[in-house]
Symmetry: D3
Subunit: 209 residues, 6 copies
């Protein structure tokens, strides 16, 4: 009987390396390198490593901006490690605003699942690309450009944003300026914003210096 | 007055190249290269180039598999060109099935927006990673592996799938085998499927030879 | 005498980092990340790390498909780690068949060294590209598409396949379907293949459920 | 005599493709794609295509910020096309300030050639990395993060900044906010800056709405 | 009958973009960019575009080095365009030598098909990695390092070299130095080779100045 | 008061992953992989990790070539790890020469800060691109091609060279040939240089065999 040899052969052939190479589920306890986290031993990987239920619930919207942000990046969802994509859920109460921010190293594609969203980005020649999006619309926000989203309707709104990076570094403008310890004088010199305004906002956001 | 010089300076500095480099909206009529379509003249780009409404409606589910697939790839949505991400909408009637397929050069992240989805992928060592997903769950399908989704509940289901490629080539297994003109004999030899079964399925799918 | 300083200088300049950066021979015992295995201490690297003799012999062809596959991937040949290329030897007895499969993340270039090979791939629009290759012919199989090779002559055939990845994950269709534990019902639903045929092939290949 | 054949052989071998592949000098008049400009006919490329003298002179510092910026990106220096690096010269008068900005898709390495520079960047967790740099110091500004430079001394200062992109898109914060037509109300909602302050700065920078 | 809709649906879905994205066969007459040649209209692509028979014959060995080099790069084999791999055939007469050279942007994997080959490369710390290879052996030559191959036996030898680039730019050391018009004085200053020796070799290779 | 929740939320959201992902300062004591060194614990990273003062001083020019090379690569400057750029300082005495060399995997952009520099590179078709550069001129040296720089004036010269790699492996031709243990016979066979000349230069540079 010739068959068993065949099956054993191919099984051996592929199993010695395959699971490791098909994916690299993050091992948060091992060294991290420029390409991401070390890989979990593939023998311990299960289907659960590829599923994340954290986005089933809204982020907390009890804040000034009335927006709840719920990320599924490699830091929350280990299966994404090294694979170059991720997802965020954003819930907007009526009047909710996602403040100006950008993602280094990733473009973003937003999908409006509920309500009306006004979204826009600013190109490097200072042109503004601004649109009102209805349920089902998608909008592209090119890599590394300042952008925002806000609820444009009278009912709560919900969107999901996908990224072509498993860790699309998020830089929020108002937090970078007013929650940091960058000296007020330097902020004013490098943004032209009045020092009194900066101090007022630092008081609000908790920035120092 | 010193200011105008300043503003003109920076305007000139950035506007001479910036719009072209921030994005490359597809010009479907110009030559295409390995990295994608040629760029539309940025002077003619508007916010509309970054918005796509085609996913607001379900794909047609009046088919054998009771599934409607609605893609937003670079071929449908020119703003995606060169930016490395895209989105698909999939509507499943009760009993609807997304047949086994794979995407070359892209991983996939599915988000269940409505209903219950059973999804799975097969690794190269033939291990099956299979899960039942509820509304709000997300699941990762690593690059280039065979996978499927099906409605796992008693009500219609809806999912969106994001990809880290603007053109995640879709190879559907049953279409590749039974809708193509690959000779039945060759299919049988290279898949071990019986020729009678192949001929039956070719009759159903329209394959020849 | 001024020269020694010069030589020592350049030696110091380059030797502090160079060997590490010119290559990264796999250390199979250290953590693995998305970009590959950790690097062996360059002080212990020798010319032997860059040579592999495993392809000098044919793979075992005593199997149903009468084909012997002998890979030199990063898992077998540590010098390939991180360098993005690899090689496979495939021996075909008369009547030998390399079953339908694909490689995620790698294109393939086959070279017929002996005999006659029939090779083909299926594009995502289900077009079949099929050719009979003579000794010395080469054929390109683009990334991530289903393809096969078979002996097209009356004598044994031999080919070598090169890949632009050091670990071109191999997904064999018949093994993925019939050697896995994907439930027969799901296979049938997602491939349209009859359950009786699937059960028969699972019996042959060892699949369960 | 056997030699001429040899030389002709290798000449033919390499010259048929090589010049095209060693570099791709920009042809600004041909289609542009996601990877950059089309290539100039290599037969017309000369050494002059690889040299740029535009950085030998200071940029105009007669502006509010007392800084002169002089870029050598692919739009100014065609030899850079497709090669992934570029350079900028920045001259700071006493009191000169390079306002907060970022580069999408590129890290930056600054070299202080003259004077004293205070430079800093803000990480996505709002930590500020701030240093005073003397002549000869270099500082790294990681990809996509807000950063600034200013003259930190009593004499003019000069720096050169290198980038790992031939087109490191420059987004200047104050110009994006106050020179654009993003409505004042939206700016205020998405940055928390007071509308009166925004209107004042729009008056200064020329923004509308 | 519900089936035809299904098939038409998926056919339309995939055929509108797929062929273009699965591959990009070179159109040598259209503009070329940093990522390669423009794509041939996929409607005109046939299986012949993916097969190349030029390596079935030895290159001409009637030269000083007694080596025949026969490349299958994107310039000769249009199907390789954009796919990142290629192949070269090298025939060595007894005493044949492949002179010192390197490939920018590509590693190389050589396979000895006939005879005995001595191959080696020099790392950037000047360590030499040297091996004698028998039929069936493979050896890795890491990206961008000087290397050579020579016939190490008493019979003709044949090897194939694969590259992870479709255009692995070949820089031959003796041709770069002695067949170019780089002034003798400059060559001597930058290599320490005596001017008399350079002039002698320029006479042999045809270099000027 | 609703604000604190907001600030805490965003702080938590970003700080859990951000610092790690914005940069990956090298930890020289942990495993190294194909993408670079492991990352230092971000909690221990300070602004000092992003600044390097080693280029403020000239390299030692007391050598045969009268050139001092001072590199800031990832091996010297840990902040560069994984970020893909680096810098070198080169000081040329009168008559100083930077010998022929190349960088695998990186293009180079030189900036003349003082004096006059003659620079050139040799393309793979043996064309020489040669220029005399004045203070402030920049010149591009495309990836992987042999090139040199020399002082072209009567006063000391200074240049800085930037690279689009944090470890642009440096292969110096005369050191590779004459400081290594590559046997003289092999060098002669693979470069056409006379054995007497090689032996003389090995005596000078310290090569053996």
């Amino acid at each position: 009987m010739i068959l068993p040899i065949f099956f054993i052969f191919f099984l051996t052939f592929s199993s010695s390396y395959a699971a490791v190479q098909d994916f690299c589920v993050a091992d948060y306890t091992a060294p991290q390198g420029p390409a991401g986290y070390s890989c979990k031993n593939p023998a311990n990987v299960t289907a659960d490593d590829f599923v994340y239920s954290g986005l089933a619930v809204a982020g907390n919207t009890s804040n000034l901006n009335k927006v709840g942000i719920n990320p599924a990046f490699a830091g929350q969802f280990p299966g994404l490690n090294g694979l170059g994509l991720s997802l965020v859920r954003a819930d907007f109460e009526v009047g909710g605003v996602g403040p100006l921010h950008l993602h280094h190293g990733a473009s973003e594609l937003i999908l409006v699942v509920q309500g009306t969203i006004i979204a826009g980005f600013i190109a490097t020649d200072n042109t503004v690309y601004l649109k009102t999006l209805k349920q089902g619309d998608i909008m592209l926000l090119p890599q590394g450009l300042l952008h925002f989203q806000k609820n444009g309707g009278d009912t709560p709104a919900l969107l999901f944003a996908s990224f072509n990076s498993e860790n699309p570094g998020v830089q929020l403008l108002e937090n970078a300026l007013f929650q940091s310890d960058l000296p007020t004088e330097l902020i004013s010199q490098t943004t032209s914003i009045d020092t009194a305004e900066i101090k007022k906002l630092k008081g609000l956001f908790g920035g120092t210096n």
